[in-house]
Structure formats: C-alpha cells, structure tokens
C-alpha cells in the first residue's frame, strides 16, 4: 500500500488499518510513514517572540484520519502552532514530525505543502484577481516547478477534478467570476476547495466557519466529517456549536501549552478549562 495514494483509496485499507507497526517496510524518500498510525507529532515546542512565550513546551499528537478540534482563548498559541507546523515560524526548541520520518523543522513552506499538509488561514486568503476556476487550477496537485508551469496545459482529467471540486464547494456557477467578488462565506469555501485540490493528507483549518451563515456552517461541518478518515483534519475554532457538530476529540490550549484533552463534554466539565474561559 502506497501511502502517497492515500486520498483516493477511501477506506480501502489505508495504512493505519493495516495492523501493526511492522518491522521492515520500505519507504521512498518523501513518502509519509504512518506505520504507527500517527500523522503528526509535536514535542516540547517552544516559540518566543521578544521574550513572550507564544508556545511553551507544547506537545500534541494527531492520529491518522482523525478530526481534531483545537480551542482556547485568544493568545493561547493556536495560530502560532499552525505557523510552526507549516514552516512559517521555526520553533526555538522541540521537534515536529510528519509521520514517522519527515522532520518539518527542516523543510521550507513549499516543501511542507508538497509533503502533504494544506493550510487554511484565519482570514480567507485566495487570489482575488484570478477567477474561481484559476484559483483551483493553481492549487491543484501537480509539478509546481517553474519550467513545468511555463508550458503547462490543462488535460481533461484535471478539468474534471476542478469541476468536481467546484460542485463540492458549490461554486460551479461562479467558476469564471473573479474570486475577489465572492461573498465572505464563498471565499472560505473556495479556500477549502483549494486545499482539497492539493490532496493533502493533513488539513489545518484556522477558524474555517468565521463569517459564515448558520446554514453554511452546517454544510461545512458535513464536508469536514466526510473528509475525516481519508484525511486528517485539525480545526481551530471558537464556535462551540460547530465543534460539537464535528464531534471529535478536543484539545484546549492555554498560554502556549495543552490544558486539557478529550471529548467536548469532558473538557467542558474540566474545572481548569472553566477557569481559563470564565476567569478566576
């Protein structure tokens, strides 16, 4: 079973179902090793900005195929954590591993994206002067080096994939509109669509439903639930109703480290979490 082909083989014996961490399995360079069923390890991550510790010995693991929600008050370090995973910020201390073998602290942002991590920003970040179609086209998983881009043409399989994603994010009728003209919620969806075009194994979603209507929020939740299993998702969110809808494990961050972890009911019952959220 080739780990690279993870996304298309939905439930069809992906790596983390294949039993034990076998000794002796062959791994190609750059291939994601999920033999221990864990996709992401953060260990003792510390990040300081001018003496302020945004992350303080943060340790966290995400299982393959998991849908994890991360909550926490403002300044808890949620966005910094995503910056560390995607290579935007280098940790002062600690290790970040993607699967068993890929050390993310050694890779650049584009290399991390290629290894299979997609990121949605807090503020929708799309290419406003490109059409919706072009946004998806640029995001599509392909050879992204200069030389190939100079002569790239779109084959019909790629066209089909874009059409499929357009359906999924409900922007099929807006394909030729400039992305800058979309509503806020539509921009959020477009960015999620761009992430999906990358075929990432791990999706990091920073407040994906901010500014969406209730109906849009619910549809987003359904989409995420359908993605879990094939992909691993980490969702940072403030909207507790949305977190509840997603239903997965919840991690509470506070002052740069993990305060509590468990189901939403468990963490909501946790005395320390209540203190942090309500103040002492």
């Amino acid at each position: 079973m080739n780990a690279v082909d993870l996304a298309p083989t939905n439930g069809d014996n992906p790596d983390w179902d294949s039993g034990t961490a076998e000794l002796g399995h062959i791994l190609k360079p750059g291939q994601l090793d999920l033999s221990h069923k864990v996709i992401l390890y953060l260990e003792d991550i510390t990040v300081s900005f001018d003496g302020f510790r945004a992350l303080n010995k943060l340790s966290l693991t995400i299982d393959a195929g998991e849908l994890r929600c991360i909550i926490g008050p403002n300044g808890a370090g949620k966005t910094t954590m995503m910056d560390v995973i995607t290579g935007k910020t280098r940790p002062d201390e600690g290790t970040v591993f993607f699967g068993q073998t890929i050390d993310l602290t050694r890779l650049s942002e584009p290399e991390i994206a290629h290894s299979g991590i997609g990121r949605k920003f807090q503020k929708p970040t799309i290419f406003e002067n490109h059409t919706v179609f072009e946004n998806l086209e640029l995001a599509m998983k392909t050879d992204k080096r200069v030389w190939r881009s100079l002569f790239a043409t779109l084959d019909s399989a790629a066209g089909d994939r874009i059409a499929e994603t357009l359906q999924l994010i409900r922007l099929a009728t807006d394909a030729d509109r400039l992305a800058g003209l979309l509503s806020h919620g539509q921009k959020q969806w477009l960015e999620i669509g761009m992430l999906l075009m990358q075929e990432p194994k791990l999706l990091l979603l920073d407040e994906p439903v901010a500014g969406m209507t209730d109906e849009e929020t619910e549809r987003t939740g359904e989409l995420f639930l359908s993605l879990a299993g094939r992909h691993s998702l980490v969702v940072v969110e403030h909207d507790m109703a949305f977190v509840k809808q997603l239903g997965g494990k919840v991690t509470v961050l506070h002052e740069g480290s993990v305060l509590a972890e468990g189901s939403l009911e468990e963490v909501q019952a946790d005395q320390r979490v209540i203190e942090v959220y309500l103040g002492r």
């Binding site: 935007k88 942002e109 406003e128 490109h130 086209e137 640029l138 881009s149 100079l150």
Partner: protein, 392 residues
C-alpha cells in the same frame, strides 16, 4: 484557462497569445517599421513631404528600445509586484557589452591610431585588460550582452528574494545597486572609459554606423525586438507561470502554502526582465552613438517606472504607450522648456498615481465601459476585464 484540446503545438499556443485584432495591429506596425520606414527614409528625396529624417529615425528607434525596457519592467512590476528602481543598470550593461564591440570596431581610426581604444591610450595602458579579450568578435559581444546582465540579475535576485526582501526595501536596494555601479563605471581604472564612456563609433560588422542603411536596419531590429518582447511577455503572463506570478503579487503566503516556491518564479521573471533590458540597451547604443555611466543614474531608472505607471501597469501594451508618450514629451520639453522637464515629469507621476491607477490604458477602458453602459449594453464583462488589466 479552460482545458484546451490535448497537445496543442507550442507555436500555435504562442500565436494564440494575441487575438486577431491585435495580430493585425502588430502586422501593421511591422509593415511600417520594416517596409515603410526604409522606403520613406532611403528612397524618397529629402525635400519630399513624406521623407523621414535621420532625426525621426533616431528618436523613434531610441524610444522603441525604451519601450522594450518598459515591457520588461511591466513583467516584474505589473505582474510580479516587484518594483525595481535599478533597471537602468541592466539597460546600461547591455549597452556597455555591445559598446565594447563597437569600440574595437573603430580599429586604428581613433584619434591615436592605436589598436587600443582611445581612452586606454590616454590612460597609458599598453594592452587590453582581460575582460576586453574577445570583444572584437560580434558573437562574443552578443553573448556578453545576454550573459553578464543575466548573471548579475540572477545572483542579486537570488539573495534578495531568498531573504524575502519585498516592497519598498527591494526598490531601495535596487537603487543602491545601480548607483554603486554608476560610481564604479565613473572610475577610469574600471576600464570602461570613465565618465566619458564609449563614443565615436565608426562601424558595426564592417558597415559604417551612421550610414542611412545601417540606421534603417537598426531601427527595424529594434521594432522586431519590441514585437518579440511583447509576444514573449504576453505568452508568459497568459501561461500558468504568469498566473502563479500574479498570485505571488497578490498573496505570496498562499502561493507558498499550496506548494510553489516563489523564489524561482520571481527569479525567473526578474532575470528575464533584466536580459530584455540588456537587449534594448545593446540596440540603443549604436543608434544614439554613446554610452556612459549616467545611464545608470538613479533618475533614469525611476523614469522607467514612470513610463509604466503612465501607460498602465499589468497591461503590457500600456508601458509601450507610456514610453512613447513620456519620451515624445521629453524630447519636446527639453528643446522648448528644458528647465521645466523635471517638474512636468514629477507632476505626471503624481497625477498618474493618484488619478490613473491603471494608466492611460485603464482610462481608455473606463471610458469605453462608460460609453457602453450609456448604450445600455452589459458593462459587467468590460469592468471585470478592466479590473484584471486589459491585454494588448
């Protein structure tokens, strides 16, 4: 872009960069430059009303070279969002590279009747410095024109873009670069003629450089180079490469997080832009007959940005129009009111920045859209096209 029929030959894709109307305009321009100008200059007697004077050929030929620089600038500024205020350097380097060949072509016809260029005799140098070796060969000169600016642009760009230097910081560093180069070239010891630069050229490939025939050929070559530059730039900005480049301009972090390395995209556009400037410089020098370090002055490079801003950034044809408008105005002003030229240029830049964000091309598109709306036609498509920047 929508899926195209599989495997369209590259040459067809290159051809489809422009629509039929643009191709007709280009054909018209080519016919003017390659047929009409030679006939009107060489065949018609000097007192004929349609005769084109040497002054006209030189002026327009010069502006054609400037237009190439403007398109090269638009490629990185309009589409890549990288404002270079040091593009004069690459233009001048191309000029110097070809100027070395022209100096060697003077042969023993210089004031000192020496094999060495006059300025070397004047400095009492006995032999050619190492970097002049091979400069008597035309092909070597062409190689110098292309490779030296490319190498400098590549190395400079690599470090600047890798360090993620952007915006105004990048612009200031490019200014410093061209200024430093100017000071270096001012020195006699550098070996490029000091503040006098190169001049008094006699021949090019054995043909007298001031002969009308030579002028006409240089004019035609400049026109062809401009057409080639436009075609190449248009292909690039319509390719996926161009879409990534504009994406970098608009949201660089998003580009990185979907797996493109902006460094190589910027570097490729930047280096290509520098080489195009160098080609323009090499065509410019034999037409005006002189190259000196003042071409590297900061003001010259800023002027390039003004041509692009006035014409319309991110439109390719706009910078060509801008280069013509500003330079025609300049040649009129510097004769009639030389002392007011800089004031006019400054005012023009401010007006273009404040009121014409899309330059004259944007203004034209807006007027046309307004008229269409007046006629009750759907103007949505036009304003969308205007927002994206109308191509040639």
């Amino acid at each position: 872009m929508r899926p195209s029929p599989a495997r369209t030959p590259f040459i067809v894709r290159l051809g489809s960069s422009f629509d039929a109307r643009s191709w007709r305009l280009i054909g018209l321009f080519a016919a003017f430059a390659l047929i009409a100008v030679p006939v009107m200059h060489l065949a018609l007697p000097a007192d004929h009303p349609l005769h084109l004077s040497t002054w006209f050929i030189t002026l327009v030929g010069k502006i054609l070279c400037y237009a190439i620089v403007a398109v090269a600038m638009d490629l990185i500024w309009g589409y890549g969002g990288i404002l270079s205020l040091g593009h004069g350097l690459f233009f001048a380097l191309g000029g110097y590279g070809f100027g070395m060949y022209l100096m060697r072509q003077i042969g023993r016809d210089g004031s000192y009747q020496s094999d060495l260029p006059d300025f070397m005799v004047f400095l009492d140098w006995k032999e050619l410095p190492w970097f002049w070796i091979g400069s008597d060969s035309f092909l070597w000169a062409v190689l110098l024109v292309l490779v030296v600016p490319a190498l400098i642009a590549f190395i400079f760009g690599y470090f600047a873009f890798r360090s993620r230097i952007k915006g105004v910081y990048f612009s200031i560093i490019t200014q410093a670069l061209t200024y430093a180069a100017m000071l270096l070239f001012f020195r006699n010891e550098t070996g490029f003629g000091g503040n006098n630069g190169f001049t008094d050229f006699k021949r090019i490939l054995g043909h007298p450089i001031t002969a009308p025939e030579t002028r006409v050929v240089l004019f035609a070559l400049s026109a062809l180079a401009l057409i080639g530059t436009l075609l190449l730039a248009r292909y690039l900005v319509r390719s996926k490469f161009g879409r990534v480049l504009t994406a970098i301009r608009d949201a660089e972090s998003r580009v990185m997080f979907i797996g493109y390395n902006p460094l190589w995209y910027k570097l490729c556009a930047w280096t290509l832009s520098a080489v195009l400037c160098a080609i323009a410089g090499a065509l410019y020098v034999p037409q005006v007959g002189i190259i000196n370090p003042s071409e590297m002055s900061v003001g010259n490079s800023i002027e390039i940005a003004i041509w692009v801003a006035v014409g319309g950034r991110g439109t390719l044809i706009g910078p060509v129009i801008g280069a013509f408008l500003v330079n025609l105005a300049k040649s009129w002003f510097t004769v009639s009111f030389p002392e007011y030229w800089l004031f006019f240029l400054g005012t023009l830049f401010i007006v273009a920045t404040l009121y014409l964000p899309q330059g004259v091309v944007g203004l034209w598109a807006r007027l046309r859209a307004g008229r269409r709306r007046g006629e009750g036609a759907a103007a949505g498509t036009t304003s969308a096209a205007a927002a994206k920047g109308v191509g040639a």
